[in-house]
């Protein structure tokens, strides 16, 4: 019986998904954003094939130093004679990796805290978690991030953790509100009456209903995480051994690219960040309009 019920639910969800996809396709901005993202994701995935480690190692770089763009170096070279294009391609991998994992981390923490808090609404558990969420909303994120990463050191893993820890509170509040409303619905009461455990109700009823709101938020969160990594990198708080777009900006800044006029070193990484962040934002807004019932009604 459960498998039958599961199958019905699966078919229903697949149909809903097909409907959402059709709506998403009608959003021009969302589709443009998605297309750009797919290109960047492809570059990130294939970057080890496109760029060899010898091109990234400062000691084995063969190009001229600070060279302007030319046929052999389409985006010029940096202060070690490395091709900026090669750095950009590897940077796509690191920046997207940090963006995705940090956003996932923030969303998972936010989802757990928000669901538990909302499900046990108005108990001491809820009060404690809610207070914690509000505190993390208030603390200026960069100050906390600086404190954390100066203490624990700036490995790529720590950067991801720091971004996740400083940005889970927003999603948590969103999920809590949704969980509070789902909890009151008749089918949850029915499941409770039939003897469903808290675990069963949370995973089978509350989470699936929270998920749509969370999904759009995740996409927006990736954009925010990439920007956060850039900020940390510019302040010298990102992993010195990993080449992200933010780190390329930092090294060009430290070398004085602005006053020396080495624009080919400074402009591309920033443009890439703007393009990717904007694309994630466009996709996120398009998803939000589909999945967020409040916005859907307004149209």
């Amino acid at each position: 019986m459960t498998s039958e019920g599961g199958r019905v639910a699966w078919i229903r969800r697949r149909r809903a998904l097909a409907g959402h996809w059709a709506t998403f396709r009608s959003s021009r901005r969302g589709m443009i954003g998605l297309a750009i993202l797919l290109v960047f994701i492809a570059i990130a995935i294939f970057s080890p094939v496109l760029v060899g480690p010898d091109q990234l190692d400062p000691s084995s770089a063969t190009g001229p130093v600070h060279a302007a763009p030319s046929w052999s170096y389409p985006l010029g070279t940096d202060n070690f004679g490395r091709s900026v294009l090669a750095l950009m391609i590897t940077g796509a991998r690191i920046s997207l990796l940090v963006g995705f994992t940090a956003a996932m981390g923030a969303i998972v923490i936010g989802a757990v805290v928000g669901t538990v808090s909302g499900y046990f609404g108005d108990t001491w558990i809820d009060h404690t978690l809610n207070a914690l969420t509000n505190w993390f909303l208030v603390i200026p994120w960069l100050a906390l991030a600086i404190a954390l990463s100066t203490i624990f050191g700036s490995t790529l893993f720590n950067v991801i953790i720091v971004i996740a820890v400083t940005s889970w509170a927003g999603p948590a509040r969103l999920v809590r509100a949704q969980a509070l409303s789902v909890k009151e619905r008749p089918y949850v009461e029915r499941a409770k009456a039939l003897g469903g455990s808290n675990w069963h109700i949370i995973t089978r009823h509350v989470l699936p209903n929270v998920f749509p709101v969370l999904f759009a938020n995740t996409v927006l969160m990736i954009a925010l995480a990439i920007l956060s990594e850039t900020t940390l990198a510019i302040l010298g708080l990102s992993d010195a051994t990993a080449i992200s777009w933010g780190r390329i900006i930092e090294s060009s800044f430290k070398a004085g690219a602005m006053t020396a006029g080495w624009w080919w070193w400074l402009i591309p990484p920033g443009l890439a960040i703007v393009t990717v962040t904007l694309s994630f934002t466009l996709v996120g807004f398009a998803l939000d309009e589909i999945l967020n019932p409040r916005l859907r009604q307004r149209r």
């Binding site: 920007l227 510019i234 800044f253 307004r298």
Partner: protein
């Protein structure tokens, strides 16, 4: 709930938050790998005698609860320890840097919110117009731009290529009176422009969507139904109500603007708290980082409290619930 209870509740909450920040700050620098003195010694600037002195200073020989009380007592009386770089009191160092940051962040917030709100009003009222679509896209692009990079770009173009503005700093020095004011403004222009551009986008997005929400309210419909001219509907019914969420956002995002200021001050060598933070990161000057963290958090808590208070005053509905 009466106005008085509302105020008491909000102030209590703010005080609880301050206590949390203090405890967090206390714990953060004690759960770090090794003890604080260990970390301080790792930065290789202290003699063994200084280490002992530091231990007593920080109260590290006391049991943990006593340490906590010691720390809170020290902090509340304004003693934030000494910098590891030059042994100066952290509170003095912070105090010296307050002015430039207040100037930059204050003016930046005013300009960004002013332009953001105006753009949002115009776009949200004429939803779908050419102004709306282009300003919305512009806002989204600005929202996606890392402030630090934007600052470098402006520096590259206006200072490096055109030479219209100085490449950084607060003033040229040696000037007095009016010419000094002009000189400081000259130095302020690019950082201020960066901060304004960096934050105008989010204000205009929120104001626009709030305008659209409010246009669908029933009181707007009834105002129109009784024949109030469109201009008056906008000015008297839509804008004041639509402004409320944006107003809160301006204060709530204060923490983010402060964060942006850290990066922008670094780029333009603007001698405020941000540059102090950056220099302290480079030399692992923990007491200063701790002090700036505390002050930044306090500023945000006060900004939030102020938003709550004025919001309750502006919108009586909030006080009722």
């Amino acid at each position: 709930m009466g106005a008085r209870r509302y105020v008491v509740k909000k102030v209590t909450h703010a005080l609880a938050t301050v206590l949390f920040i203090l405890s967090f700050n206390f714990l953060l620098f004690r759960i770090m790998p090794g003890d604080p003195v260990g970390i301080l010694v790792r930065s290789d600037r202290l003699t063994p005698a200084q280490v002992d002195e530091l231990r007593t200073d920080l109260g590290l020989n006391l049991p943990l609860p006593r340490q906590y009380l010691h720390y809170v007592g020290q902090t509340v009386t304004g003693s934030l320890g000494e910098s590891l770089r030059n042994s100066r009191p952290v509170s003095t160092m912070i105090f010296e840097r307050l002015g430039p940051t207040a100037l930059l962040v204050g003016l930046g917030t005013i300009f960004a919110s002013l332009f953001g709100v105006l753009i949002g009003i115009k776009g949200g009222w004429n939803r779908g117009s050419r102004f709306d679509t282009s300003s919305q896209l512009g806002s989204l692009v600005l929202y996606a731009v890392p402030e630090g990079w934007l600052g470098m770009l402006l520096l590259l173009f206006f200072s490096g290529v055109l030479g219209w503005f100085p490449a950084g700093g607060f003033e040229t020095g040696g000037l007095t009176g009016m010419s000094r004011v002009v000189d400081v403004l000259d130095h302020l222009f690019l950082p201020l422009l960066t901060l304004t551009l960096g934050y105008v986008g989010q204000y205009s997005i929120v104001m626009r969507s709030s305008m659209i929400d409010t246009t669908h309210e029933e009181y707007v419909m009834s105002a129109r139904a009784k024949g109030v001219p469109e201009r008056m509907v906008r000015r008297n019914h839509v804008v004041p109500n639509a402004f409320l969420p944006t107003f809160t956002l301006i204060f709530l995002s204060f923490g983010f603007v402060l964060g942006g200021a850290v990066v922008i001050e670094t780029i333009f060598s603007w001698p405020g708290l941000g540059l102090l933070t950056y220099d302290s990161i480079g030399s692992l000057d923990y007491p200063v980082i701790q002090g700036v963290f505390l002050l930044g958090s306090l500023a945000v808590i006060v900004a939030n409290l102020f938003a709550d208070m004025t919001y309750g005053y502006l919108d009586p509905r909030i006080r009722e619930t």
